[in-house]
Point group: C2
Chain length 311, copies 2
Amino acid sequence: MVLDPPLPKPLVGRLTVIGLGLIGSSILRAALARRLADEVVAYDHFEPVRSRVEALGIADRVAATPEEAVTGADVVILCVPVGAMGAVGEDIGPHVAPGAIISDVGSVKASVAKALAGQIPDYAHVIPAHPVAGTEYSGPDAGFATLFQNRWCILTPPEGADEGAVDLLEEIWAAMGANVERMSAERHDLVLAITSHVPHLIAYNIVGTAADLETVTQSEVIKYSAGGFRDFTRIAASDPTMWRDVFLNNREAVIEVLGRFTEDLFALQRAIRWEQGDALFELFTRTRAIRRSIIEQGQETAAPDFGRAHD
Amino acid sequence: MVLDPPLPKPLVGRLTVIGLGLIGSSILRAALARRLADEVVAYDHFEPVRSRVEALGIADRVAATPEEAVTGADVVILCVPVGAMGAVGEDIGPHVAPGAIISDVGSVKASVAKALAGQIPDYAHVIPAHPVAGTEYSGPDAGFATLFQNRWCILTPPEGADEGAVDLLEEIWAAMGANVERMSAERHDLVLAITSHVPHLIAYNIVGTAADLETVTQSEVIKYSAGGFRDFTRIAASDPTMWRDVFLNNREAVIEVLGRFTEDLFALQRAIRWEQGDALFELFTRTRAIRRSIIEQGQETAAPDFGRAHD
């Protein structure tokens, strides 16, 4: 897969990415590949990560401080764990330029909007965003330029947000290959609770349950994991700090959806106990249709076993 | 990936496969490719499936009846849903040859052993087996010869089983690329409850919960499924009949493991409610190690996102 060629004219003068993990480093790569800005600037609070990005050559310039990173930037994208947004906002707030767009990629939106609103001066535009994309790997080496291709990026502009600024942020994401949607932060947090947060929680949980069983050894769990269990271990290998923050910052929606999940699971357990085969068959048939739709809409591969090699 | 070349000398005279779906048709393909028997015979109770296998040319002979299929067979492998084993056993019982090995590939073993024991005469050897392998696709077109490569196949010979017969069955599976392990049917059913059955149930359940939520539309679930949800839809697209039978036939172990899963999930939910970030972080870190082991032991790919194409 090759990205489209660089834009004939960059969309902005200076684009700054703060936090250079999987997502941040993917934005850098996509921004350079498509030349979205005259200058693409990178910063991470962790020095080895800055050095690594320097060595990878995926930014025009690696800044040494948050101040240096955001000074003169037209667009700043924060790619740090949701729980760190307030602190980063505090670091950069005094240095952002009037009219600059301050955005992020956090998986929770209402709490990020709140954390940044207190730190970014009114003369800049805070427009939270969330590209629904990723892999189970972390760090600057894990990123790649096509990560956002045909994935959805959700913008959650606050009420009264500057339309021009929202449009420009949308153009940037579209240029990185994403489909862009707008909704309220609250709606985002509810929708993502079911499509991402609760699935991650369940995956972490089943992997933990399997590890803790006294009646089945860990070696057995590993050997026979191809029976289905291994599918869950992928998202349960995602970044622990990021996911801790997601759950702490989207508590209400996660607990609400989890309540529904558990209720449904108890009903299913009861159907097994009472040998209600028809009820099981009906559910198991219905769920096939949903995967089919996901494949048809390009959000999943139709290859058997996700396209895993069978060798 | 290419299979090893055909054996210099087939292991048995006649190998019969009954039930020609994903697993059955994969056995046919592997058995022909490696020439495990002088003659590989196929039968399915559904006529269009027999015709399709005939057209695919993946058996030396497609039999028209169960009687014709098993007459003179040295080894018979039943690849039908677990709930159908008793009926198939009844059909073939009177026709199996003295000394023949009757095996299967069902995902539950104690109930299969019981169902077959009543139907297969004592002069044949009933040796249940379970290759822990598969994809989410079904039917004779979905099979492939390398499906069992480096996957585990569990034999659950009953007490007092003929050692020569068990060894021969082990050779057959090893020749199809599988690693073979032996254990009791009861232990198998407990181990598979955690590595396969409960993961499938949870996957079916979360997909059902997502479909039924009134507050989030199905179209939103599909659009943003790359946030994690889509991973669950793969195994929730597996064959409904097969899985209904698994749950009905492994009730006790499934309900027991499910009890542990739910208990752990409630603890996790409580940790979120009370904002116990350290507890979340600790679990989320621990689960990474398990995936690493699964990859190291060749039961999973290390490629990001299962190796899905990013385009």
